[in-house]
Amino acid sequence: MPERYPAYDVLRKRDTLSWNAVTRAVIDARLAITNSPKFFDLQEWQTLTSVCDRIVPQPKTRAAVPIAALVDRKMADDHREGYRVAVLPRMQEAWRRGLAALDAESVAKHGRRFHFLPSSQQDELLKAMQDAKLGSPEWDGMPPDTFFSQRLAHDIVAAYYSHPTAWSEIGFGGPASPRGYVRMYFNRRDPWEAVEAKPGEEDKARRANEHVG
């Protein structure tokens, strides 16, 4: 997929009127996160990082968002969402059991843990989980498809799109207080918004985006 917003970096707005002090503090803390686990053990961490790579495959051309670490901190801080479907255990327990079950399925089918599988086999297992076609006893009554949609993919994707790199990728304006936006109509862009690369005009967009801030 070619970059739609080449060179657009939402972080260039950090010191502008688009970011207030509290936003800077929140995002600085997120960017300072170290890429190692506080909640998961080493084996769980390996499985989790491999799952993250498949749920959100990131381009090799830029620094990767530490998705697994963001998910790990959500568990470490036990930041729950205020509800769970009755068939799932609490968030931390659901994750622990789900990762263990995924590894058990992987060993049963391929003789190796999930982390050591080629990506095509990893995708097959994740698809089977999504389609509720896994049934090892390690699930202990937790429906694999519900775990997939309401915990695994849900938490991983929310972690990725909490990161400024992901905002830049999709051309999202990002934090916008107190400056906000002025131009609201179709195809109108404030000077502090991303420039989209029209076909054949990638360089022009790149140059323009280097000045967006």
């Binding site: 509290v22 205020g82 009755a86 799109y161 999709i170 304006g173 400056r179």
Partner: protein, 548 residues
Amino acid sequence: MLDDALHAPRGKDGRAPDPLRVAGWMPMRRFRDDEEVDFAIVGTGAGGGTLAARLSEAGFSVIGFDAGAWWRPLEEFASDETHQAKLYWTDERICDGDNPLQLGSNNSGKSVGGSTVHFAMVSLRFRPEWFKSRSVLGYGVDWPLDWREMWNYYTEVEQALKMAGPLTYPWGPPRPRYPYRAHEINAAGWTLAQACEALGVEWTETPLATVSAPRGQSHPCIYRGFCVAGCSTNAKQSALITWIPRAVKAGTEIRDLAMIGRIETNDAGRVTGVHYQREGQWRFQRARNVVVAGYAIETPRLLLNSASSRYPDGLANSSGLVGRNLMVQTNQGVYGTMEDEIRWYKGPPSLTITEHWNYADTDKDFFGGYAVMSQGPLPISWAATHVGNRGLWGEALLREMDKYNHQTGFKICGEVLPQERNRVTLADEKDQYGLPIARVTFSLCDNDKALVKHSVAFMSRCLDAVGARDIWAEKDDTCHLNGTARMGDDPRSSVVNADCRSWDIPNLWICDGSVFPTVGGVNPSLTIQAIACRTADRIKAMASRGEL
């Protein structure tokens, strides 16, 4: 510092945080626990916050309790979906039924000001006929309220919050002009407008509780688009910055980070006050009247958790209806991709609306109605829609997210019918206060599904009419919470009367969305506030006649 408010209460020692000024404080009256106040109000959102202001302005002594924090938005609200989860009710709740609900950020606030701190500001009046939907439209149940009286209270709230809306409203009986002009429409809003023009149905600017011109300390809305993560500029006229400061000025004491565990009753069967936990201690506040205003899950949960030997099934529950008839609103979205750049993250999320299907009674194969509004989801919420509703992940997800700035789409606020099987009960699990948590059971009925199907077909035609490509519909989404302590004319079939006074216990009141007998196809906050204003006037009148 970013979440100080979550750890130590601020409303104490005779002062309260002023949410309109950085580091601001305002003086606040103090009551002792053993001082019997006229009203202890549980919850400070659209119901409780409004009622506290109106009752204290009428001279009653009032304490408002809230389990959540008392924020100063200007210095404590980030432009960030993740961080702002601090505004939501994230204590554990268990959901089941055929269509388990999503709570938390979707519909449940936990802060002084309640869910109005993170609501999308959409402020709509009920269609008059809905107050008599059983006798006039043939479904649901009648309200014990008269629409003409409600029309006046709607006006009061619209004026009190300086709502921004259109010059003339296309549907229903005449209403006064909105006090502030309508907001500028964004591109997503224009796609709905153009679609309605193409299909020959009326549309208008959505009436919103965010100011379009200066008002006191509130600057006009800057269109930053993080409304549902909390407004950091105080343009949004939430209860936190409107009713609560009014209440405090008029002598209400608000106690933040104060969780009510139980309402106490005496041998005579009357309530005597509330047990609440604050700063790790359980305390008891005496009160002549208790008002429960915790929204449609916490309200029945507290009534059920307050069961006693005299009231073994919970308080106000002789009808057996406390917790029953839980209603949400269906919230299906239909989305498509436009050639134009839309950039729907700019501005309040729902700037245009058509209430056509709320007011039309022909060409429908279901009871009830729905409003259709333009949308503007932020990235995490948009990605969650793809994951939860379409099962997308991997490259397929990234390809969809790449089109973010070219998306447009509409969502309904759709009526569901009241069903007794949809209910709030107590689970065995306990929360951090040691209280049994809520189990929330919800299933759509055939009529609800027919309404959704109709709306999806309509919204798909709308998107097609404006040239959207790759049109797709969500399979499951809901919003808002109502019912669970309905008002009515008969103690056998309702929990409270038209004045929000419980049939069983004359000094116990319920004032929030719980009292709705039906929900209609509009967002509930304006009606909750209008009912609170009416309840305050009724209490005033009853007090003057010695009937409290």
